[in-house]
């Protein structure tokens, strides 16, 4: 069974109205090739689950400018202020979540957990309307799991089964997103034969991954470059 597909074949999975998780901390560890493909793909009214929604006009910031995003769920849109501007103009919906709650809700989504209580955010504006519970004398809030129709993630290496290894801080949200969507597309810089990855260093086992795409755009010392 070979999961290798082109970016164009893989993006067909994304449909209008879908919730799409996209990995990356800013552009670091973002699936830049698949995001570029998303800009050419006819899918609208998307709910994007992403920590930042890229940067202004870069990465997911391009998709935002195309008006394809209906709602953004993430923790830090300060790095793409266009999100805040569109939100204030009433053009998109935003769900701002503390970063630890963001990653834990995705983890819960992938682990079959409906919700969980956390101290983070209790008593603040971001917890308004959420169920509260006092445990051991401290206030906690109920947070619900986040799941997606499709997750588009970035890893460093895959084998042809779809086992994944990551690189440095480009790992970030990618492993948890790989667990929390119905269909998972992994963009990688290198594809090797089965058996070549050390089983001890596989972070995402292949059962989470549906499709593997080779990257064409990479973040290098010279910035984002397109490979020949």
């Amino acid at each position: 069974m070979d999961k290798l597909k082109t970016a164009k074949e893989a993006i067909q999975q994304v449909q209008t109205g879908n919730t799409v998780m996209v990995g990356g901390f800013g552009l670091v560890g973002a699936p830049l090739t698949m995001i570029e493909e998303l800009t050419k793909h006819e899918a609208y009214d998307l709910t994007i689950v992403s920590n930042n929604v890229g940067e202004e006009g870069k990465g997911l910031g391009k998709v935002l400018r195309q008006g394809k995003i209906k709602k953004a769920i993430g923790s830090y849109f300060t790095s793409n202020r266009e999100v805040g501007t569109l939100y204030n103009e009433g053009k998109i919906d935003v769900q701002l979540v503390p970063q630890g709650t963001f990653s834990e809700s995705i983890r819960a989504g992938g682990a079959g957990i409906g919700g969980y209580y956390t101290k983070t955010g209790a008593g603040t504006k971001l917890a308004e309307g959420k169920e509260e519970k006092i445990m051991n004398g401290e206030k906690y809030v109920l947070e619900e799991a986040i799941k997606g129709n499709v997750a588009i993630i970035k890893a460093d290496k895959a084998d042809t089964l779809g086992n994944l290894q990551y690189y440095k801080t480009a790992r970030n949200f990618n492993p948890v997103m790989a667990t929390a969507a119905d269909f998972v597309i992994a963009e990688v810089d290198e594809i090797v034969d089965v058996g070549e990855l050390d089983p001890e260093s596989i972070v995402t086992p292949h059962l989470y991954v549906d499709v593997v795409v080779r990257s064409r755009y990479q973040l290098t010392k010279e910035g984002v470059v397109e490979l020949g």
Partner: protein
């Protein structure tokens, strides 16, 4: 070494760190703390997934895929480890980080801070601040005493949205060093070129003055 105001604050905050601690540094002045500590004595945790961060020492070390929480390129210390964001925040919320040094827009008499939103502005970023306040064993705020426009940051009560119900443990500014003692602010130190009069004039919340200060 001629230090500017921000560096003076970072240097004083660095003096609060005990060797061997796991520390997490927020964006802005806290990032400068690395300049004033011996990297061999501390383990710096960055919430985007690295324990064992260090400052870049040369251009050859630059790797665009190793960044800190402010998305600035950093280096990797010997003994470093990488992990995903959910694991990273489990470390934070679970009480495994000894000290977080954070910036703030306001700190109030109860020790609560506001640092993630300004009403009416298009800034929508909370990041990891709420998690660090809920889980770090000790939280130190390092800020300039007043804003550039003169606005007072040490207020009676935050009127910007608060970040957590938890009170922070200390405040370092360019004018003074405050510690939380028995649910009250105590001025422990007056910074060089500052005075009690200047601190009092620029501080709205009530504070006690440590008896060792004359």
């Amino acid at each position: 070494m001629n230090l500017d105001k921000r560096e003076i604050i970072a240097k004083r905050a660095a003096e609060e760190l005990k060797p061997g601690s796991i520390i997490n540094l927020g964006i802005g002045i806290p990032t400068l703390v690395t300049k004033f500590i011996n990297p061999d004595d501390f383990f710096i945790h960055t919430e985007n997934g690295l324990l064992g961060m260090k400052e870049l020492e040369s251009d050859e070390e630059f790797d665009p895929l190793i960044v800190n929480a402010g998305k600035m390129a950093v280096g990797e210390e010997i003994g470093a480890s990488y992990f995903d964001s959910a694991t990273s925040f489990s470390m934070i919320r679970g009480g495994h980080v000894d000290v977080a040094i954070l910036g703030a827009l306001q700190v109030d008499e109860n020790g609560q801070i506001a640092n993630w939103a300004i009403p009416g502005k298009n800034i929508l970023g909370v990041g990891g601040a709420m998690d660090l306040l809920s889980g770090a064993k000790k939280v130190i705020v390092s800020i300039t005493h007043t804003a550039k426009d003169g606005r007072i940051k040490l207020v009676k009560e935050c009127d910007y949205p608060i970040t957590s119900l938890r009170a922070v443990d200390a405040i370092v500014t360019d004018l003074g060093f405050f510690e939380r003692v028995d649910h009250e602010w105590v001025l422990k130190e007056i910074m060089p070129n500052s005075s009690l009069e200047e601190i009092t004039k620029n501080t709205e919340f009530h504070f006690k003055v440590d008896q060792d200060i004359n």
